[in-house]
């Protein structure tokens, strides 16, 4: 490794690890004042709120919303991504443009637009409304993801299956889905992560009635409850780390398609 590369790596590592270190210290430390390098003592007090109070239900809601939004977006993104990948140039241009929109639009602007729709359709302030809203940016990400995946899957493999007598449904089940096993798991993880960290969409569509881990974290920060905010932030980090680990494990254990 060259010297500039080594220096760059160190700077990156510090930038990534320093906030994490601050979170860990705040979440597990008692009192911590400058210029002490570490807190005066260590405690698990902040973590007791996870099992009860506001944080426990918020985590459960986040898990439920993230899972539902991710599943919804993945189920929709697979055929849409396939249609765009297999379509002509016009379809590809319009399709990828449409998929980029919910990602490219500032989250607060997207949330405002979706809130207006949610209120008119009666799903504002409900978990269902939040799930649908979270599925919108997740669908954008996952559509682009599956466009890339399907561009790597030879459509003639499906043709071969059809001429052997497999119906479109059987070809999906016995040929395409096993080929897409790893990308599907990755898509579910990605969709979950998009939802898991959502704040503007949850706040505007949920209207305060739907409380997730991310919105609770914001509330703790605003209330100056640093330890609870740090605990919430670490919990929010957890799925991202698990997803990264799972993705790496899948990459080692499956030899089908790289996602």
């Amino acid at each position: 490794m060259t010297r500039p590369a080594r220096l760059g790596t160190i700077v990156l590592a510090i930038a990534a690890l320093l906030p994490l270190a601050a979170l860990v210290i705040t979440a597990f430390g008692t009192t911590w004042f400058y210029p002490a390098l570490l807190p005066a003592g260590w405690t698990l007090e902040g973590w007791t709120v996870v099992g009860g109070g506001r944080l426990g239900p918020a985590v459960a809601t986040s898990l439920a919303i993230g899972s539902a939004a991710s599943l919804l977006a993945t189920v929709a993104a697979v055929p849409i991504g396939r249609a765009i990948a297999r379509g002509d140039r016009l379809v590809a241009r319009i399709g990828t443009g449409a998929a980029f929109l919910p990602i490219a639009i500032p989250p607060i602007a997207l949330a405002t637009g979706l809130q207006l729709l949610a209120l008119r359709t009666g799903v504002g302030g409900t978990v269902v409304g939040v799930v649908l809203a979270h599925a919108v940016p997740a669908l954008g990400y996952l559509t682009l993801f599956f466009v890339g995946i399907f561009r790597g899957v030879d459509p003639e493999i499906e043709s071969a299956a059809h001429t052997l007598g497999l119906s479109p449904r059987a070809a999906w089940r016995h040929v395409l889905l096993p080929l897409l096993r790893r990308p599907l798991v990755e898509a579910l993880l990605l969709g979950f992560l998009v939802s898991w960290a959502q704040v503007p969409l949850t706040l505007l569509i949920g209207g305060g009635a739907v409380r997730t881990l991310a919105t609770e974290l914001l509330a703790y920060v605003q209330a100056g409850q640093d330890r609870l905010a740090a605990v919430s932030a670490l919990l929010l980090l957890l799925p991202a780390l698990l997803a990264l680990g799972a993705s790496r494990r899948l990459a080692r254990t499956t030899g089908t398609l790289a996602g």
Binding site: E156, T163, L164, P168, V175, R181
Partner: protein, 329 residues
């Protein structure tokens, strides 16, 4: 009993129409679809398989009209130029899949039998990634046959293989496609391959015309100059160049190099341009003031050396002004 009937099938792609082609196939029958690149051979074969729309014409399977049928209902197994095996399944899994999905309890046993037929039974549990190109094509052949198709559609499945492997797999196809086996259509631009595979041929020409008939007629007595060029008739020359008797109205004479014997002769009317060794001696190009001629010589002639030619008159094909073959006098 006819299993596959093509009635003036036309396929179109990007504004170009290919065909019409016609023909009927009973079990064990074989048809070759030949023509240079870009004449729509693969498009027509895909249309027959149901992978591309049929622009016009009628496709019948057994006795039913099947023009609009989905590919899975047609059951015309398509063998691609490169084997499109299912990468998540092992060799046996690939071959057994179609019957297994159909709920056939004998799927695995049947798959094993077909793997034996293509001499790959020892590789049944191997992943397909470890197979050579020829082995993969044999698995694709076994997979197609194991699906119990009405007919086999072969889209130049030997072209990506080296010549020795190609001969081996061609022989294997002959072995497994016996008389009461499925009918088969082969797309190829290689006339030797077509001749080895089928006795009937449909020739597609660059100008969009189509000819069909016995493969022997196409090779020995091509009905038009365009077909003569398609079959690689080396000499298509005005009659005076050869100085042989031809039917009245002959504009061009076609003769294969193999029917033109060249011998060195310092007083000969022909001058050698170049010679190249072949398994039958030397294949030489000669020139005279009237034109050029390709023939065979037992010894190489140096460039510029003189020679004379003897043409086998029974192997001449005469063409009239409209490009069609003239009957011999």
């Amino acid at each position: 009993m006819t299993v596959l009937s093509l009635e003036a099938i036309v396929a179109a792609v990007a504004g170009r129409r290919f065909g019409p082609i016609s023909g009927t196939l009973a079990p064990g029958d074989r048809l070759a679809l030949v023509g240079p690149s870009g004449t729509g051979k693969t498009t027509l074969l895909r249309a027959i398989a149901g992978l591309h729309p049929i622009a016009s014409g009628t496709l019948r399977l057994d006795t039913e009209e099947a023009t609009g049928w989905a590919p899975e209902r047609r059951r015309l197994a398509y063998l691609h130029q490169t084997p499109r095996l299912f990468p998540h399944l092992d060799v046996l899994g690939n071959v057994a899949l179609a019957r297994r999905v159909a709920g056939d309890p004998t799927a695995v046993a049947a798959a094993r039998r077909w793997l034996e037929a293509v001499h790959l039974d020892a590789r049944a549990t191997d992943g397909i990634g470890g197979l050579s190109g020829g082995e993969q094509q044999r698995v694709a052949l076994a997979r197609a046959l194991a699906s119990a198709p009405r007919a086999l559609l072969l889209d130049e499945p030997f072209s990506a293989l080296d010549p020795a492997l190609r001969r081996g797999i061609r022989a294997m196809v002959d072995e497994v496609l016996h008389d009461d086996g499925p009918a088969a259509i082969l797309v190829t631009h290689d006339l030797d391959e077509a001749a080895a595979f089928a006795s009937a041929v449909v020739a597609l020409l660059p100008d969009g015309t189509v000819w069909s008939g016995p493969v022997a007629t196409l090779i020995h007595t091509p009905p038009t100059t365009a077909l003569a060029r398609l079959v690689g008739l080396e000499n298509l020359i005005p009659p005076p160049v050869l100085g042989v008797g031809v039917p009245a109205g002959t504009v061009l004479v076609g003769v294969r190099a193999a029917a033109v014997a060249i011998s060195p002769d310092p007083a000969g009317a022909w001058r050698a341009v170049r010679c190249q060794p072949t398994e039958l001696g030397y294949r030489c190009e000669l020139e005279s003031p009237g034109g050029r001629l390709m023939g065979l010589a037992s010894t190489a002639l140096a460039p510029g050396a003189r020679g004379r030619v003897t043409v086998d008159p029974t192997r001449l094909v005469a063409f009239g002004a409209d490009g069609t073959r003239l009957p011999p006098d």
